[in-house]
């Protein structure tokens, strides 16, 4: 069947089973937009800014495990998408982003709306392609989806010159693709796995530390089985929350800069550390010189480059986490040895002592709305089962600390890049994927304004997300650092001239609710969540000076926390 390039793009997306494309039209992609109109299988979601498109596709990908797809035009369309592409790249989210390009004969000519999209995006993608011939479109798309979704996932950009989308050729979508330079299917080395199991069983003070890789690798059931048969304490990174049920007694909470006292102390004093799908990020390790001083470290990761990048490990295992954990469980089944229960009992007694510090306690009698209280109430009303997105800052940390995620893919936030403006568009992607589920965006009055225009998109597609704005009238995390480290000089962190968020939501055709008293929190949340068909913007004025505790100052060790 002979088709024009634009139809080949759409037919290829259909062949990949793509449900939604998040995008914004412009000159260079008009042929592709025209092709959208000729079919109904692939739906297009029109955002209000290209950054919103990338975050929405990203949210969709994080919630479903399927690749998010974006279509933007050349020039500013592509540059606006870069923040969202980088966000996905830092958190290893599978995404395919199509950027229009000026016609081939104009490339390099400083043509209208021309930028070197391949060059600009190169450092923030897993891979990118410039299509140079209409005959290559189908193969490149197949490769793009293959690369984006396999191995350590990530965003792939495909740049398509306009003239190619109008050129004709025979369309055959390849059923399979092989690339001699890319072989992502690695199996964990069984010898290393056996060595690791021996070390695990010999531990007296073991600690399991898992990251986003467990969620991306769909290894939550394997991890839960592994941790529970051993009875070892477990902590999750910010990206890994939900991989292990937060309501289980073996779970010590999140670790790192705003992790719990018990998780960080157990990290610091463990003798065997089992790192799974985590990358020893600086917000997790603190000062590397002081990191896990007594531990032998086992590290499982699908990406060889993650191993011994920041922390030298003793037993590296490169492989898909689900498969490696299956192997771990099999080897444990075949062993007659069991963990050292006497040592473990002592270890748990120590951990319980740390736990008794109750590091997440906060003042309940201030008369002000405490942001932590709002998150706890939300957890209670939703049974910890909602899809929760966030922006970046204090509200993000409080959500991570107090929501208590029991299932994977429910907690959706920009961990690596820390992109303000991520939360609402990401929630749109989640709501589209799961129209009947409760999707909540926890945000702050600073973050929400970075992509506020997407309220319009929500109206157009009837997306009933619940936006809970913890409004402390500060860029809270900036303010907190200024209080701690800049002698309370609050330079530029006060958000002056805030809009009336209720009126703003209403002007977009949504429902707005405003509260400022602790007594109103529960009722307002219940009211918002009960409005199944409406987007509700809950503007919640909170204690302006509340800080996120515990906190490890930059450059300190995990045992050097600031407690409340």
């Amino acid at each position: 069947m002979e088709l024009i390039g634009a139809d080949i793009v759409i037919q290829s997306l259909k062949a990949e089973g793509v449900e939604f494309v998040f995008g914004y039209p412009g000159g260079a992609v008009l042929h592709i937009y025209d092709a959208f109109d000729k079919q109904e299988d692939v739906k297009h979601i029109l955002v209000r800014h290209e950054q919103g498109a990338t975050h929405a596709a990203d949210g969709y990908a994080r919630a479903t495990g399927k690749p998010g797809v974006v279509l933007v035009t050349s020039g500013p369309g592509a540059t606006n998408a870069v923040t969202g592409i980088a966000t996905a790249h830092m958190d290893s989210i599978p995404m395919v982003v199509f950027t229009g390009q000026v016609p081939r004969h104009l490339i390099g000519n400083d043509a209208f709306q021309e930028v070197d999209s391949v060059g600009i995006t190169r450092p923030v993608v897993k891979h990118n392609f410039l299509v140079e011939d209409v005959k290559d479109i189908a193969t490149i798309l197949k490769k793009a989806f293959y690369v984006a979704t396999t191995g350590r996932p990530g965003p792939v950009v495909v740049d398509i010159p306009k003239d190619i989308t109008a050129a004709r050729c025979e369309f055959n979508y390849p059923a399979e693709i092989k690339m001699r330079s890319y072989n992502p299917t690695v199996k964990g080395h069984i010898g290393q796995i056996k060595r690791a199991v021996d070390l695990i069983l010999s531990a007296e003070r073991p600690m399991i530390y898992t990251g986003g890789g467990v969620i991306l690798g769909e290894a939550s059931p394997q991890l839960t089985r592994f941790a529970q048969r051993l009875g070892y304490p477990i902590t999750n990174t910010l990206m890994g929350l939900g991989a292990y049920p937060a309501n289980d007694k073996q779970f010590l909470g999140m670790l790192g800069m705003h992790g719990t006292y018990e998780a960080n102390m157990a990290m610091h004093q463990c003798d065997v550390l089992i790192a799974i799908g985590a990358r020893f990020d600086d917000r997790v390790t603190g000062n590397l010189e002081k990191f896990c001083p007594d531990a032998k470290i086992i590290h499982i990761d699908v990406d060889p480059a993650s191993i011994s990048k920041n922390v030298k490990v003793d037993i590296p295992i490169v492989g898909q986490v689900a498969q490696v954990l299956d192997n771990f469980n099999e080897v444990l089944d075949s062993k007659r040895k069991t963990p050292n229960t006497a040592a473990l009992e002592k270890w748990w007694a120590q951990i319980d002592e740390w736990r008794s510090q109750d590091c997440l306690k906060y003042d309940h009698n201030s008369g002000l709305v405490k942001p932590q209280f709002v998150i706890e109430q939300l957890h209670d009303i939703t049974n910890g089962d909602a899809f929760v997105t966030s922006d970046v800052g204090q509200h993000q940390m409080w959500t991570a600390q107090y929501y208590g995620f029991n299932k994977p893919r429910r907690w959706i936030n920009s961990g690596g890049l820390g992109t303000m403006g991520f939360g609402m568009p990401a929630a749109m992607g989640v709501q589209l994927a799961y129209p009947d589920e409760t999707v909540v965006c926890i945000t702050g009055e600073a973050s929400i304004q970075m992509c506020i225009q997407e309220l319009s998109t929500c109206k157009q597609y009837g997306l009933p997300i619940k936006i809970i704005c913890l409004n402390n009238q500060y860029m809270g995390m900036v303010r907190q650092w200024q209080e701690f480290f800049y002698e309370k000089r609050y330079a530029m962190s006060y958000v002056d001239a805030l809009p009336d968020f209720v009126a703003l939501a209403q002007s977009y055709g949504h429902t707005g609710i405003q509260i400022d008293k602790p007594a109103d929190v529960r009722a307002a949340l219940e009211d918002a969540l009960s409005r199944k068909e409406e987007l509700v913007f809950l503007n919640c004025f909170t204690d302006k000076t509340e800080n996120v505790y515990p906190m490890i100052p930059a450059g300190a060790g995990l045992n050097e926390m600031i407690l409340v």
């Binding site: 060059g119 990118n128 140079e132 690339m179 890319y182 480059a305």
Partner: protein, 161 residues
């Protein structure tokens, strides 16, 4: 320590910038880089000379391997290998200098490839040290131009990339 990393990569537009971009983005050193298509025109062979601690070199190897365009990679530093670099050098050569320059070229097994009344242009191959020694030996001569290719290398024996 100095390492020589040799790689085969897809001969596609942008492949070189992926490698160069990786080095600059992660603040790795490049001492020299040379690249050209191989006998298979769909592949390019690149030789990179870099320096760093063992940890950095391990990361460089892993990060290069991670690039989708990289087909194969070898760090030949630990293997017995041959290193070569090509230098083209143009010097002033008049009167008595002409004999001396010719003698030095012969000693270093180089060749004179262009001659004018006042200049010699020579080519010389070898490892970096030999080329440096040649430049040193010409210290009394006025050097007009030096072009060096960057190093290429190949392992000895049956092993092949």
């Amino acid at each position: 320590m100095r390492h020589i990393i040799s790689l085969l990569l897809e001969n596609e537009s942008g492949a070189l910038s992926r490698v160069a971009g990786l080095f600059s983005a992660r603040a790795y050193n490049i001492e020299s880089l040379s690249v050209a298509p191989t006998d298979d025109p769909s592949l390019s062979r690149m030789t990179i000379v870099t320096t760093g601690t063992e940890e950095i070199i391990e990361q460089i190897n892993k990060q290069l391997n991670k690039l989708i365009d990289v087909v194969k990679l070898i760090d030949m530093t630990g293997d017995v290998h041959v290193e070569r670099e090509l230098m083209l050098i143009k010097v002033n050569a008049t009167d008595g200098e002409r004999d001396e320059v010719k003698r030095l070229v012969d000693i270093f097994h180089g060749r004179v490839i262009d001659v004018t009344d006042t200049t010699f242009t020579m080519e010389i191959t070898g490892d970096g040290e030999k080329l440096n020694a040649f430049v040193q030996a010409l210290s009394s001569i006025t050097i007009l131009e030096v072009v060096r290719s960057g190093l290429i290398g190949i392992t000895r024996g049956e092993k092949a990339l």
